[in-house]
């Protein structure tokens, strides 16, 4: 395992050379990720790795892609999607136009899950879904709407557990190990790069989803990001986090009302 001091040196160098601040990322996870790429790419001395990161911008980009955790699923936590379907979408549906933001969308599985829910609720035509991530490579995948075919069995089970009634395979075309999702689902999606550490609010939304991203941040950065979401959320809009994340320590509890047991809060003022 790399040393703590080596990790701190890397964080400082990345900030100095590229202006990106990993200083507020949770150390335990970050250290494992840096250690992983260090060994994966066959380095033996940390200074070699450091100078490669410093002087080779292509390699720096690879490192950022590899240390961000991009694991995602369609309909992860079906119970969450059930509440979304039964409670939240009917409320959003009363609006003439629905704006959603997936922050930290990774390769887009969650965004496609949302589009399917919106379509089934008859709301997709009047929705727009912004989906952002810091990692440009995952956004390229997300734009294509192509996911591994071997995952479809699990996803269709998740979909059913989330209350889905359609034939899940009608949403994609299977071909040589890949599942290409129907273009209609992607029509209302806008993908772009956005860094939650340093970029500002860019619109007002009716719902913001940021699931399993805050776990990679320390408490101070979590607070800043929750406040960024607060600025970007319309009154009576919804904020959804991962099942083990909370806004409790970040924002006044009088401003938000939690929805049942799920990690969904409604902005009440």
């Amino acid at each position: 395992m790399i040393e703590d001091i080596e990790l701190e040196t890397l964080i400082n160098d990345v900030y100095e050379y590229y202006g990106f601040d990993f200083g507020s990322y949770s150390r335990a996870s970050l250290k494992r990720r840096v250690n992983r790429i260090f060994h994966l790419d066959g380095f033996t001395h940390f200074h070699e790795f450091l100078s490669r990161v410093r002087y080779d911008p292509e390699y720096y980009k690879r490192m950022v892609d590899e240390i961000t955790v991009n694991v995602t699923e369609m309909f992860r936590d079906p119970a969450f999607y059930r509440v979304l379907r039964n409670e939240i979408l009917p409320l959003l549906g009363t609006k003439p136009f629905i704006r959603l933001w997936h922050a930290g969308c990774s390769t887009g599985e969650e965004v496609y899950s949302m589009a399917i829910m919106l379509k089934e609720a008859g709301l997709l035509h009047k929705s727009i879904i912004y989906a952002t991530d810091i990692n440009a490579t995952v956004l390229e995948t997300a734009k294509k709407g192509i996911f591994p075919l071997r995952m479809m069995k699990e996803y269709s089970e998740n979909y059913r557990d989330a209350g889905g009634l359609e034939d899940f395979s009608s949403y994609y075309i299977a071909n040589y190990g890949i599942a290409k999702f129907n273009e209609e689902l992607g029509e209302k999606m806008v993908f772009s790069q956005h860094n939650l550490v340093s970029d500002t609010s860019f619109n007002e939304f009716d719902m913001i989803l940021c699931r399993n991203v805050l776990i990679y941040f320390d408490n101070d950065l979590q607070k800043r990001v929750i406040n960024l979401f607060d600025e970007s959320l319309a009154v009576l809009g919804f904020l959804a986090l991962g099942t083990k994340e909370t806004i409790k320590y970040s924002i006044s509890p009088t401003k938000y009302k939690q929805f049942e047991k799920e990690k969904i809060w409604r902005k009440v003022k």
Binding site: S26, V69, V71, D161
Partner: protein, 194 residues
């Protein structure tokens, strides 16, 4: 190297297990005494969709309070913590728990190796790692890390394990300090810091 029978200055006891380990825990947890200045962290292989059932079951059986694990909760002495399904459980400095959704390790998330290695880095000699029954190799690398950081390594006696493969693998590669039956594991935990 032989460790003295009584473990002192322990901050965390981390227990890992897979198939068959719940049986062992059902024998150990109901007999626990209040934990003296240390916490117990349990990392079991479990279904992705099992959101709360394992916690509920362990709470029901253990006579020490099970605290819910969420991102960045403090790890307090005197309580039991259980790694949630579909996340890896990590340890931050200053007694904070953290979660991570990265790739499965040994086909598992939570992975025992991941949590053991992370705990070893933070707690060093103040850590006791216990590996129970299972039919997978997860846990062995983690125990090696605990050993390398000066912690105490305990493996369930394969003869007492429902699935001996996992403890056997650890005995082969991780040089445990103790190989114990369930009631001996209980006695060891009760004796910690006394």
């Amino acid at each position: 190297m032989e460790k003295s029978e009584i473990i002192s200055d322990c901050k965390v006891v981390i227990i890992g297990g897979s198939a068959g380990s719940l049986n062992a825990l059902m024998q150990i947890l109901p007999e626990l005494r209040p934990l003296k200045d240390f916490s117990i962290v349990i990392v079991l292989h479990r279904k992705n969709t099992d959101d709360q059932t394992l916690e509920d079951l362990l709470s029901l059986k253990a006579n020490v309070e099970v605290k819910p694990v969420e991102d960045k909760v403090p790890l307090l002495p005197g309580f039991i913590y259980v790694a949630p399904s579909n996340y890896h459980l990590l340890f931050e400095k200053e007694n904070i728990l953290a979660l991570d959704t990265s790739e499965k390790i040994n086909y598992s998330r939570p992975s025992i190796d991941v949590s053991f290695e992370s705990a070893a880095e933070i707690y060093g000699t103040s850590l006791v790692g216990i590996l129970l029954s299972g039919s997978n190799t997860d846990g062995t690398e983690g125990l090696k890390a605990i050993k390398a950081h000066g912690g105490t390594v305990v493996v369930q006696n394969p003869l007492a394990a429902d699935m001996p493969f996992m403890p056997n693998n650890a005995i082969l590669y991780a040089e445990p300090d103790f190989i114990l039956n369930n009631h001996e594991i209980l006695k060891l935990i009760i004796s910690i810091n006394s």
